[in-house]
């Protein structure tokens, strides 16, 4: 039972990180209708920036804040400079441009910070004896902290989307860009802010992941894939879906690695494929996604 609880909390913590990344993907998808392939890499860059700042003596929480600002600026810049000028938003060309951003950021990180793995301090107490015992299971405080971060961020996002004018604008643009433009919403600024927000959330996810996973250039590659699976599972235009999808994927991963010996971590993706197909064949737009109605 205690082992089950430990695995459950670890799964939830990993799931929270996937949920954060999936949220970032959903925010971008709602505004631009694209999967942001560079999301993970911008996060990795932010995590390395955190490492540089903490090494120079800044407290960890402040470094993460600064890195989130950097993530905001980079991601907003990608929207304004790379994505928007592409003629007619041609989907193929946007995908190629985002793959270009992915490559460039990935290799830029390797150039600036080298290829050696680093360790990143956690913002929560993370020494060997920092755990609480719940029902006999030792639960690390840092893992609980990650889940807490997700809950706080969800609350803030809910406030922003539902109680502020900019949030209203973002919902309107997600619903219908042309009409939003007609009623006087500055669609351009809303898109830039949406992408920037996604970049900042991505950096937060990377900074939460790096202390337990180790900081390398490929930190976010696996999590990005799982987060996209989570976002699709929940419905690409649904924030609730992203969170549910992320937690489901995190728990599935923890239980497969923990309990199904003959599959283990190596066969994670075949299992994901089965889950994804099972859900999408019943609900083609994901669990919480809005179904598109087409007229001919």
């Amino acid at each position: 039972m205690s082992l089950f609880l430990e695995r459950f909390v670890n799964g939830l913590a990993d799931g929270s990180i996937y949920a954060l990344l999936a949220l970032a993907l959903v925010v971008v998808f709602r505004s631009t209708g694209q999967l942001n392939f560079a999301q993970g890499e911008i996060g990795t860059m932010g995590a390395f920036f955190v490492s540089t700042l903490t090494l120079s003596g800044l407290p960890v929480w402040l470094s993460i804040g600064c890195a989130m600002v950097l993530g905001f600026l980079v991601s907003a810049g990608v929207e304004r400079i790379v994505v928007r000028p592409i003629e007619h938003r041609n989907p193929g060309a946007v995908i190629v441009a985002l793959i270009g951003v992915f490559l460039a950021v990935n290799q830029l990180v390797a150039m600036i910070w080298g290829v050696d793995a680093r360790s990143l301090p956690s913002v929560f107490p993370d020494d060997a004896d920092d755990f609480v015992t719940i029902l006999g299971a030792p639960i690390r405080i840092a893992r609980l902290g990650v889940i807490g971060v997700l809950i706080v961020l969800l609350f803030l996002l809910w406030l922003m989307f539902n109680k502020t004018k900019i949030g209203l604008g973002m919902r309107a643009v997600a619903n219908n860009q042309e009409s939003s433009n007609l009623v006087g919403i500055r669609v351009g600024s809303v898109l830039v802010i949406g992408w920037g927000l996604a970049g900042a959330i991505g950096v937060l996810a990377a900074a939460m992941l790096a202390p337990s996973a180790g900081l390398t250039g490929t930190l976010m590659l696996g999590p990005f894939l799982l987060a996209s699976v989570a976002a699709v599972l929940g419905g690409l235009d649904s924030p609730v879906g992203a969170v549910v999808g992320g937690l489901v994927i995190g728990l599935t991963e923890a239980f497969i690695v923990g309990y199904v010996d003959f599959l283990g971590a190596d066969m994670l993706f075949p299992v994901m494929l089965v889950i994804l197909l099972g859900v999408l064949l019943l609900r083609p737009s994901g669990l919480f996604g809005t179904e598109r109605v087409e007229r001919v």
């Binding site: 998808f29 694209q34 999967l35 790379v82 000028p85 592409i86 003629e87 007619h88 041609n90 193929g92 060309a93 946007v94 995908i95 190629v96 441009a97 793959i99 270009g100 951003v101 992915f102 490559l103 460039a104 950021v105 990935n106 290799q107 830029l108 990180v109 390797a110 150039m111 600036i112 910070w113 080298g114 290829v115 894939l225 996209s228 699976v229 699709v232 690409l236 003959f262 190596d266 066969m267 994670l268 993706f269 075949p270 994901m272 494929l273 994804l276 197909l277 999408l280 064949l281 083609p284 737009s285 994901g286 598109r292 087409e294 001919v296």
Partner: protein, 412 residues
């Protein structure tokens, strides 16, 4: 003379244009074989192999409009099929000693990938756009994981893969065994690319080809017009996968080994194929060739930029002490992709075609004596009208003079 010049499809001017194009590419190939270094020719062969796989991807993503990030899986399955058959890892009822001639494994790879592709095509009936792309992407990673899985080690070689493949040129080619291996793979890839391109061009002119384009342009309308979505999608996914599979087995034999960690067999491979397709021009018959050449050679150029020590003067301030500039090549390539997407959004071939159409326009030939209007004879011959013919007739059912599509050859 007024621009654009109109040239009728199938007229001698049209054929002359094609001759110049094919002649130019052929000349380039001959020069490459005779004058390029072995490593350069190896790169060219790689580009041709990628072009074959992209030709397959073009069928499903370019012409049928189903975004697939799963073609690296077919590439890998083709490669492993060849490797397993050549080394006799699996029992087969044909070919004594269980060891296949490498040439026949292309056929086997095509059949295996066709069947798997048909199955992959089934989800495409329900899923659209990014959803389908993500499912096929997870399919790629799932196949890679299965190929690496230790329980299957007896067949796929597990994490170490299968080594020691070889495909020496047969004696009738006059090539000298190991010395001319690169030349042999170059010709083989070129021949297969030509065959595959001709077959895919033929497919596009057939009933299935028209159905593919109809599905891409508007799936619901196509279904209403009587296109069978199930048959079209599964069949085209199968054919597309089969072509990628043949490219994969060619790649495996050229590489002489397969293992699940070969970059082109995973996520990176799927992305490579898609980038090559978009950069060359989706739904363009020369797109895969141009895109693959761009990908391989520009990537090589970017790497040489990264390895050039003189560039460390420019970027040295950015770099940590002790780390090399090896990232600069990747950054260069990434920036080039961004610029390409910005300035050539419809791919190299699509953009070139747009420019060319300002000077020379290829227009369909109009039956003799019809004067630009619909011809009774043409409609009478075919009996039933297809949707496309019906649409054309509606467009041209106006007085001949008012049509902006003048009869070809008469424009001055």
């Amino acid at each position: 003379m007024e621009l654009p010049i109109r040239v009728a499809k199938g007229s001698w001017q049209n054929w002359l244009g094609r001759l110049v194009l094919f002649g130019g590419v052929g000349l380039f190939m001959f020069r490459a074989v005779n004058e390029w270094s072995r490593s350069g020719l190896g790169l060219l062969a790689d580009a041709l192999i990628i072009a074959i796989a992209v030709t397959g991807l073009n069928l499903i993503t370019g012409y049928t409009g189903q975004l697939s990030l799963g073609h690296a899986a077919f590439f890998a399955i083709g490669a492993f099929t060849s490797a397993m058959l050549v080394t006799g890892k699996v029992w087969t009822p044909f070919f004594t000693d269980n060891i296949w001639t490498p040439g026949w494994t292309f056929v086997a790879a095509a059949v295996v990938c066709f069947l798997i592709g048909m199955v992959v095509g089934v989800p495409a009936l329900r899923l659209k756009g990014i959803y389908l792309a993500l499912v096929t992407l997870v399919f790629t990673e799932a196949v890679r994981a299965a190929l690496k899985y230790e329980e299957f080690e007896g067949v796929t070689g597990g994490a170490t893969g299968i080594k020691g493949l070889s495909y020496l040129p047969p004696s009738w080619t006059g090539l000298d065994g190991r010395a001319d291996l690169v030349t042999w793979f170059f010709w083989l890839s070129l021949a297969i690319l030509v065959v595959v391109s001709v077959l895919s061009a033929g497919l596009l002119r057939s009933r299935i080809g028209r159905a593919m384009v109809a599905v891409r342009d508007n799936e619901t309308a196509a279904a209403v017009m009587g296109v069978n979505l199930f048959t079209t999608k599964t069949l085209v996914f199968g054919l597309s996968g089969a072509i990628a599979g043949v490219a994969g087995s060619l790649y495996a034999l050229k590489l002489t080994l397969v293992d699940a960690d070969v970059p082109l067999f995973g996520l990176f491979g799927s992305v490579t194929l898609l980038v090559a397709l978009v950069v060359g021009g989706a739904a363009q018959n020369w797109g895969p060739f141009v895109g693959a050449m761009f990908y391989v050679f520009v990537n090589d150029f970017a790497r040489s930029v990264g390895e050039d020590p003189s560039n460390s003067v420019l970027f040295g301030w950015l770099v940590d002490e002790g780390t090399k500039l090896n990232g600069l090549g990747g950054v260069t390539f990434g920036v080039m992709l961004i610029l390409f997407a910005r300035f050539v959004p419809f791919g190299a071939v699509g953009t070139m075609r747009m420019w060319r159409s300002k000077a020379v326009l290829v227009v369909p030939r109009v039956p003799l004596g019809s004067g630009g209007g619909p011809s009774e004879d043409v409609l009478g011959e075919s009996g039933a009208m297809s949707a496309e013919q019906a649409a054309t007739n509606i467009d041209s059912a106006e007085p001949p003079g008012s049509s902006d599509e003048d009869p070809p050859g008469l424009a001055t």
